[in-house]
Amino acid sequence: MILQLSNYIIPFIILFVLLYGTYKRVPTYEKFVEGGKEGVTLAISLLPFLLGMIVSISIFRASGAMDAFVGLLTPLLTIIHVPPDIVPLALTRPISGTASLGIATDIIKTEGPDSYLGKLASTMQGSTDTTLYVLTVYFGAVGIKKMGDALKVGLIADFIGIIASLVICYLMFG
Protein backbone atom coordinates (compact mmCIF):
# COMPACT_ATOMS: atom_id res chain seq x y z
CA MET A 1 0.00 0.00 0.00
CA ILE A 2 2.70 2.46 1.06
CA LEU A 3 4.89 1.44 -1.87
CA GLN A 4 1.95 2.06 -4.19
CA LEU A 5 1.54 5.52 -2.74
CA SER A 6 5.21 6.25 -3.36
CA ASN A 7 4.64 5.66 -7.06
CA TYR A 8 1.76 8.13 -7.19
CA ILE A 9 3.41 11.08 -5.48
CA ILE A 10 5.65 12.28 -8.31
CA PRO A 11 3.19 11.98 -11.22
CA PHE A 12 0.60 13.71 -9.04
CA ILE A 13 2.92 16.62 -8.24
CA ILE A 14 3.81 16.99 -11.93
CA LEU A 15 0.16 17.02 -12.96
CA PHE A 16 -0.76 19.47 -10.24
CA VAL A 17 2.07 21.91 -10.99
CA LEU A 18 1.41 21.85 -14.75
CA LEU A 19 -2.33 22.41 -14.40
CA TYR A 20 -1.99 25.02 -11.67
CA GLY A 21 0.71 26.86 -13.65
CA THR A 22 -1.54 26.91 -16.72
CA TYR A 23 -4.46 28.13 -14.61
CA LYS A 24 -2.29 30.95 -13.25
CA ARG A 25 -1.24 31.84 -16.84
CA VAL A 26 2.43 31.10 -16.25
CA PRO A 27 4.38 30.73 -19.54
CA THR A 28 5.00 27.14 -18.44
CA TYR A 29 7.34 25.90 -21.13
CA GLU A 30 9.60 28.99 -21.00
CA LYS A 31 9.83 28.80 -17.23
CA PHE A 32 10.51 25.08 -17.40
CA VAL A 33 13.46 25.65 -19.72
CA GLU A 34 14.71 28.50 -17.56
CA GLY A 35 14.68 26.39 -14.41
CA GLY A 36 16.04 23.38 -16.26
CA LYS A 37 19.20 25.28 -17.17
CA GLU A 38 19.95 25.46 -13.46
CA GLY A 39 19.74 21.67 -13.35
CA VAL A 40 22.56 21.37 -15.88
CA THR A 41 24.79 23.69 -13.85
CA LEU A 42 23.93 21.89 -10.64
CA ALA A 43 24.73 18.43 -12.02
CA ILE A 44 28.03 19.55 -13.53
CA SER A 45 29.03 21.35 -10.34
CA LEU A 46 28.53 18.08 -8.44
CA LEU A 47 31.07 16.25 -10.64
CA PRO A 48 34.34 17.05 -8.83
CA PHE A 49 32.76 16.35 -5.43
CA LEU A 50 31.32 13.03 -6.50
CA LEU A 51 34.40 11.96 -8.43
CA GLY A 52 36.78 12.71 -5.57
CA MET A 53 34.74 10.88 -2.97
CA ILE A 54 33.84 7.91 -5.18
CA VAL A 55 37.49 7.32 -6.10
CA SER A 56 38.55 7.53 -2.46
CA ILE A 57 35.91 5.11 -1.17
CA SER A 58 36.53 2.76 -4.10
CA ILE A 59 40.19 2.53 -3.10
CA PHE A 60 39.14 1.89 0.49
CA ARG A 61 36.78 -0.85 -0.63
CA ALA A 62 38.97 -2.51 -3.28
CA SER A 63 41.95 -2.73 -0.93
CA GLY A 64 39.94 -4.84 1.49
CA ALA A 65 40.32 -2.25 4.25
CA MET A 66 36.59 -1.55 4.28
CA ASP A 67 35.76 -5.22 4.85
CA ALA A 68 38.25 -5.30 7.72
CA PHE A 69 36.74 -2.13 9.22
CA VAL A 70 33.18 -3.38 8.82
CA GLY A 71 34.20 -6.78 10.21
CA LEU A 72 35.34 -5.11 13.42
CA LEU A 73 31.95 -3.47 13.94
CA THR A 74 29.75 -6.38 12.87
CA PRO A 75 29.28 -8.20 16.21
CA LEU A 76 28.15 -5.05 18.00
CA LEU A 77 25.94 -3.67 15.22
CA THR A 78 24.05 -6.84 14.33
CA ILE A 79 22.69 -6.96 17.87
CA ILE A 80 20.86 -3.69 17.24
CA HIS A 81 19.86 -4.53 13.62
CA VAL A 82 22.21 -1.98 12.06
CA PRO A 83 23.89 -3.22 8.87
CA PRO A 84 27.62 -2.46 9.36
CA ASP A 85 28.05 -1.39 5.72
CA ILE A 86 25.98 1.71 6.43
CA VAL A 87 28.45 3.07 9.02
CA PRO A 88 30.68 5.06 6.60
CA LEU A 89 27.58 6.82 5.25
CA ALA A 90 26.17 7.58 8.70
CA LEU A 91 29.51 9.05 9.79
CA THR A 92 29.89 11.27 6.73
CA ARG A 93 26.30 12.49 6.45
CA PRO A 94 26.53 15.37 8.96
CA ILE A 95 29.90 16.52 7.63
CA SER A 96 29.47 16.82 3.88
CA GLY A 97 26.42 16.35 1.67
CA THR A 98 28.36 15.78 -1.54
CA ALA A 99 30.79 13.40 0.15
CA SER A 100 27.98 11.34 1.61
CA LEU A 101 26.24 11.37 -1.77
CA GLY A 102 29.36 9.71 -3.17
CA ILE A 103 29.26 7.06 -0.45
CA ALA A 104 25.52 6.47 -0.87
CA THR A 105 26.11 6.04 -4.61
CA ASP A 106 28.80 3.49 -3.92
CA ILE A 107 26.43 1.48 -1.69
CA ILE A 108 23.61 1.66 -4.25
CA LYS A 109 26.00 0.53 -6.97
CA THR A 110 27.59 -2.40 -5.12
CA GLU A 111 24.57 -3.63 -3.16
CA GLY A 112 21.90 -2.77 -5.74
CA PRO A 113 19.31 0.03 -5.44
CA ASP A 114 16.50 -2.34 -4.43
CA SER A 115 18.43 -4.19 -1.77
CA TYR A 116 17.76 -3.40 1.89
CA LEU A 117 21.08 -1.56 2.16
CA GLY A 118 20.40 0.35 -1.05
CA LYS A 119 17.04 1.56 0.26
CA LEU A 120 18.49 2.41 3.65
CA ALA A 121 21.33 4.41 2.07
CA SER A 122 18.81 6.24 -0.15
CA THR A 123 16.60 7.14 2.80
CA MET A 124 19.51 8.22 4.98
CA GLN A 125 20.97 10.41 2.24
CA GLY A 126 17.61 12.06 1.55
CA SER A 127 16.43 12.64 5.08
CA THR A 128 18.86 15.10 6.66
CA ASP A 129 21.08 17.90 5.45
CA THR A 130 24.66 18.65 6.26
CA THR A 131 24.94 20.54 9.53
CA LEU A 132 28.49 21.74 9.00
CA TYR A 133 27.70 23.08 5.53
CA VAL A 134 24.54 24.88 6.62
CA LEU A 135 26.31 26.29 9.66
CA THR A 136 29.29 27.56 7.67
CA VAL A 137 27.23 29.07 4.86
CA TYR A 138 24.44 30.67 6.89
CA PHE A 139 26.47 31.98 9.80
CA GLY A 140 29.50 32.77 7.65
CA ALA A 141 27.49 34.89 5.24
CA VAL A 142 26.18 37.23 7.93
CA GLY A 143 29.23 37.18 10.18
CA ILE A 144 28.06 35.27 13.25
CA LYS A 145 31.12 34.37 15.29
CA LYS A 146 29.62 32.91 18.45
CA MET A 147 27.54 29.93 17.39
CA GLY A 148 25.99 29.23 20.78
CA ASP A 149 24.26 25.85 20.84
CA ALA A 150 23.78 25.77 17.06
CA LEU A 151 26.38 23.08 16.33
CA LYS A 152 25.13 20.82 19.13
CA VAL A 153 21.51 21.20 18.05
CA GLY A 154 22.36 20.48 14.41
CA LEU A 155 24.47 17.42 15.11
CA ILE A 156 21.94 15.88 17.49
CA ALA A 157 19.24 16.48 14.86
CA ASP A 158 21.39 14.66 12.30
CA PHE A 159 21.82 11.80 14.73
CA ILE A 160 18.04 11.59 15.15
CA GLY A 161 17.63 11.59 11.36
CA ILE A 162 20.06 8.69 11.02
CA ILE A 163 18.36 6.66 13.75
CA ALA A 164 14.96 7.47 12.23
CA SER A 165 16.14 6.22 8.82
CA LEU A 166 17.37 2.99 10.39
CA VAL A 167 14.14 2.35 12.28
CA ILE A 168 11.81 3.31 9.42
CA CYS A 169 13.69 1.21 6.86
CA TYR A 170 13.74 -1.72 9.27
CA LEU A 171 9.96 -1.44 9.66
CA MET A 172 9.18 -0.81 5.98
CA PHE A 173 11.73 -2.88 4.10
CA GLY A 174 13.36 -5.11 6.73
Binding site: L3, V17, Y23, I59, A99, T105, I108, D149, G154
Partner: protein, 202 residues
Protein backbone atom coordinates in the same frame (compact mmCIF):
# COMPACT_ATOMS: atom_id res chain seq x y z
CA UNK B 1 36.70 17.29 8.82
CA UNK B 2 35.75 15.97 5.40
CA UNK B 3 39.42 16.28 4.46
CA UNK B 4 40.34 13.71 7.07
CA UNK B 5 37.73 11.22 5.86
CA UNK B 6 38.65 11.72 2.22
CA UNK B 7 42.42 11.40 2.64
CA UNK B 8 41.92 8.74 5.31
CA UNK B 9 39.96 6.36 3.11
CA UNK B 10 42.35 6.68 0.17
CA UNK B 11 45.54 6.56 2.25
CA UNK B 12 44.44 3.70 4.51
CA UNK B 13 43.19 1.86 1.44
CA UNK B 14 46.48 2.18 -0.44
CA UNK B 15 48.65 1.23 2.55
CA UNK B 16 46.33 -1.68 3.41
CA UNK B 17 46.47 -2.87 -0.21
CA UNK B 18 50.29 -2.97 -0.09
CA UNK B 19 50.21 -5.46 2.77
CA UNK B 20 47.07 -7.27 1.69
CA UNK B 21 48.26 -7.95 -1.85
CA UNK B 22 45.33 -6.11 -3.40
CA UNK B 23 47.35 -3.30 -5.00
CA UNK B 24 46.38 -4.48 -8.47
CA UNK B 25 42.67 -4.15 -7.69
CA UNK B 26 43.26 -0.71 -6.22
CA UNK B 27 45.17 0.38 -9.30
CA UNK B 28 42.33 -0.71 -11.52
CA UNK B 29 39.56 0.80 -9.41
CA UNK B 30 41.11 4.30 -9.35
CA UNK B 31 40.49 4.86 -13.04
CA UNK B 32 37.31 2.82 -13.26
CA UNK B 33 35.60 4.68 -10.44
CA UNK B 34 36.62 8.09 -11.80
CA UNK B 35 35.02 7.07 -15.07
CA UNK B 36 31.90 5.88 -13.22
CA UNK B 37 31.57 9.24 -11.49
CA UNK B 38 31.58 11.09 -14.82
CA UNK B 39 28.86 8.87 -16.27
CA UNK B 40 26.85 9.18 -13.09
CA UNK B 41 26.99 12.98 -13.19
CA UNK B 42 25.84 13.02 -16.79
CA UNK B 43 22.91 10.77 -15.95
CA UNK B 44 22.01 13.07 -13.04
CA UNK B 45 21.46 15.92 -15.50
CA UNK B 46 18.23 14.36 -16.81
CA UNK B 47 16.23 14.36 -13.61
CA UNK B 48 17.71 17.56 -12.19
CA UNK B 49 16.82 19.48 -15.35
CA UNK B 50 13.30 18.10 -15.32
CA UNK B 51 12.67 18.68 -11.63
CA UNK B 52 14.19 22.15 -11.38
CA UNK B 53 12.29 23.13 -14.54
CA UNK B 54 9.02 21.94 -13.05
CA UNK B 55 9.72 23.67 -9.76
CA UNK B 56 10.38 26.95 -11.56
CA UNK B 57 6.81 26.71 -12.86
CA UNK B 58 5.58 26.06 -9.31
CA UNK B 59 7.48 29.10 -8.10
CA UNK B 60 6.12 31.37 -10.86
CA UNK B 61 2.57 30.15 -10.22
CA UNK B 62 2.88 31.29 -6.62
CA UNK B 63 2.78 27.81 -5.08
CA UNK B 64 5.73 28.57 -2.81
CA UNK B 65 3.89 31.58 -1.37
CA UNK B 66 0.74 29.48 -0.89
CA UNK B 67 2.71 26.90 0.99
CA UNK B 68 4.33 29.58 3.11
CA UNK B 69 0.90 30.93 4.11
CA UNK B 70 -0.10 27.43 5.17
CA UNK B 71 2.83 27.15 7.57
CA UNK B 72 2.66 30.68 8.95
CA UNK B 73 0.68 29.89 12.14
CA UNK B 74 3.14 27.15 13.10
CA UNK B 75 6.12 29.37 12.43
CA UNK B 76 4.76 32.15 14.61
CA UNK B 77 5.02 29.72 17.50
CA UNK B 78 8.41 28.42 16.42
CA UNK B 79 9.88 31.93 16.27
CA UNK B 80 8.19 33.84 19.11
CA UNK B 81 10.96 36.48 19.15
CA UNK B 82 10.16 37.75 15.64
CA UNK B 83 7.41 40.38 15.26
CA UNK B 84 4.67 38.78 13.10
CA UNK B 85 4.98 41.12 10.09
CA UNK B 86 8.75 41.45 10.13
CA UNK B 87 10.47 40.64 6.77
CA UNK B 88 12.55 37.97 8.53
CA UNK B 89 9.43 35.82 8.90
CA UNK B 90 8.74 36.05 5.15
CA UNK B 91 12.25 34.92 4.29
CA UNK B 92 12.13 32.07 6.80
CA UNK B 93 8.86 30.81 5.33
CA UNK B 94 10.12 31.04 1.74
CA UNK B 95 13.33 29.27 2.76
CA UNK B 96 11.29 26.45 4.31
CA UNK B 97 8.99 26.12 1.26
CA UNK B 98 11.94 26.04 -1.14
CA UNK B 99 13.50 23.24 0.94
CA UNK B 100 10.27 21.22 0.78
CA UNK B 101 10.36 21.37 -3.02
CA UNK B 102 13.98 20.29 -3.04
CA UNK B 103 15.15 23.67 -4.33
CA UNK B 104 18.37 23.79 -2.32
CA UNK B 105 19.84 26.45 -4.59
CA UNK B 106 16.86 28.73 -4.07
CA UNK B 107 16.60 27.97 -0.36
CA UNK B 108 20.14 29.00 0.54
CA UNK B 109 19.99 32.69 -0.52
CA UNK B 110 16.57 33.01 1.18
CA UNK B 111 18.01 31.50 4.34
CA UNK B 112 20.92 33.93 4.27
CA UNK B 113 18.54 36.87 3.82
CA UNK B 114 16.56 35.60 6.80
CA UNK B 115 19.76 35.39 8.86
CA UNK B 116 20.60 38.97 7.90
CA UNK B 117 17.23 40.19 9.14
CA UNK B 118 17.60 38.18 12.33
CA UNK B 119 20.98 39.77 12.91
CA UNK B 120 19.41 43.23 12.63
CA UNK B 121 16.75 42.16 15.15
CA UNK B 122 19.58 41.09 17.43
CA UNK B 123 21.16 44.61 17.32
CA UNK B 124 23.89 43.47 14.91
CA UNK B 125 25.72 41.46 17.54
CA UNK B 126 28.00 38.69 16.32
CA UNK B 127 26.53 35.94 18.48
CA UNK B 128 23.73 33.60 17.42
CA UNK B 129 20.27 34.60 18.67
CA UNK B 130 17.56 32.15 19.67
CA UNK B 131 15.74 32.50 16.32
CA UNK B 132 18.96 31.99 14.37
CA UNK B 133 19.57 28.67 16.07
CA UNK B 134 15.98 27.58 15.39
CA UNK B 135 16.31 28.52 11.70
CA UNK B 136 19.56 26.62 11.50
CA UNK B 137 18.04 23.54 13.13
CA UNK B 138 15.19 23.60 10.61
CA UNK B 139 17.61 23.80 7.72
CA UNK B 140 19.93 21.03 8.87
CA UNK B 141 17.03 18.62 9.30
CA UNK B 142 15.73 19.73 5.88
CA UNK B 143 12.13 18.75 5.22
CA UNK B 144 12.27 17.45 1.65
CA UNK B 145 9.30 16.06 -0.21
CA UNK B 146 11.12 14.50 -3.16
CA UNK B 147 14.78 13.46 -2.85
CA UNK B 148 15.48 14.07 -6.54
CA UNK B 149 19.19 13.36 -6.73
CA UNK B 150 18.96 10.03 -4.96
CA UNK B 151 16.06 8.94 -7.21
CA UNK B 152 18.21 9.77 -10.24
CA UNK B 153 21.06 7.66 -8.88
CA UNK B 154 18.71 4.74 -8.19
CA UNK B 155 17.45 4.95 -11.77
CA UNK B 156 21.00 4.97 -13.08
CA UNK B 157 21.66 1.63 -11.34
CA UNK B 158 18.52 0.01 -12.80
CA UNK B 159 16.24 0.12 -9.80
CA UNK B 160 12.87 -1.56 -10.35
CA UNK B 161 11.32 1.02 -8.02
CA UNK B 162 13.43 4.19 -7.97
CA UNK B 163 10.74 6.09 -6.04
CA UNK B 164 10.10 3.34 -3.45
CA UNK B 165 12.09 5.35 -0.94
CA UNK B 166 9.99 8.52 -1.17
CA UNK B 167 7.65 7.62 1.71
CA UNK B 168 10.42 6.33 3.97
CA UNK B 169 12.41 9.51 3.31
CA UNK B 170 9.42 11.73 4.11
CA UNK B 171 8.87 9.89 7.41
CA UNK B 172 12.53 10.12 8.33
CA UNK B 173 12.73 13.80 7.45
CA UNK B 174 9.61 14.64 9.48
CA UNK B 175 10.99 12.83 12.52
CA UNK B 176 14.36 14.54 12.25
CA UNK B 177 12.69 17.94 11.88
CA UNK B 178 10.47 17.42 14.93
CA UNK B 179 13.56 16.19 16.76
CA UNK B 180 15.51 19.28 15.73
CA UNK B 181 12.77 21.59 16.99
CA UNK B 182 12.51 19.79 20.34
CA UNK B 183 16.28 19.82 20.86
CA UNK B 184 16.40 23.49 19.94
CA UNK B 185 13.73 24.18 22.57
CA UNK B 186 15.53 22.10 25.17
CA UNK B 187 18.79 24.00 24.71
CA UNK B 188 16.95 27.33 24.74
CA UNK B 189 15.27 26.66 28.07
CA UNK B 190 18.52 25.33 29.47
CA UNK B 191 20.31 28.60 28.52
CA UNK B 192 17.44 30.63 29.92
CA UNK B 193 17.46 28.62 33.14
CA UNK B 194 21.14 29.33 33.63
CA UNK B 195 20.69 33.02 32.94
CA UNK B 196 17.90 33.35 35.51
CA UNK B 197 19.99 31.45 38.03
CA UNK B 198 22.93 33.80 37.46
CA UNK B 199 20.87 36.96 37.83
CA UNK B 200 19.16 35.69 40.96
CA UNK B 201 22.58 35.37 42.64
CA UNK B 202 23.45 38.96 41.84
Amino acid sequence: MVHIIWVGMAAVGIVYAMFNGTIEEVNKVIFESANDAVFLTISLISILVFWLGLMRIAEEAGLLIKLAELFKPIFKRLFPDIPPDHPAMGYILSNFSANIFGLGNAATPLGIKAMNELKKLNNDQDDASRSMITLLALNTSSVTLIPTTIIAIRMQYDSIGPTDIVISTIFATIISTIGAILIDRYFYYRRKGRLEYDTSIE
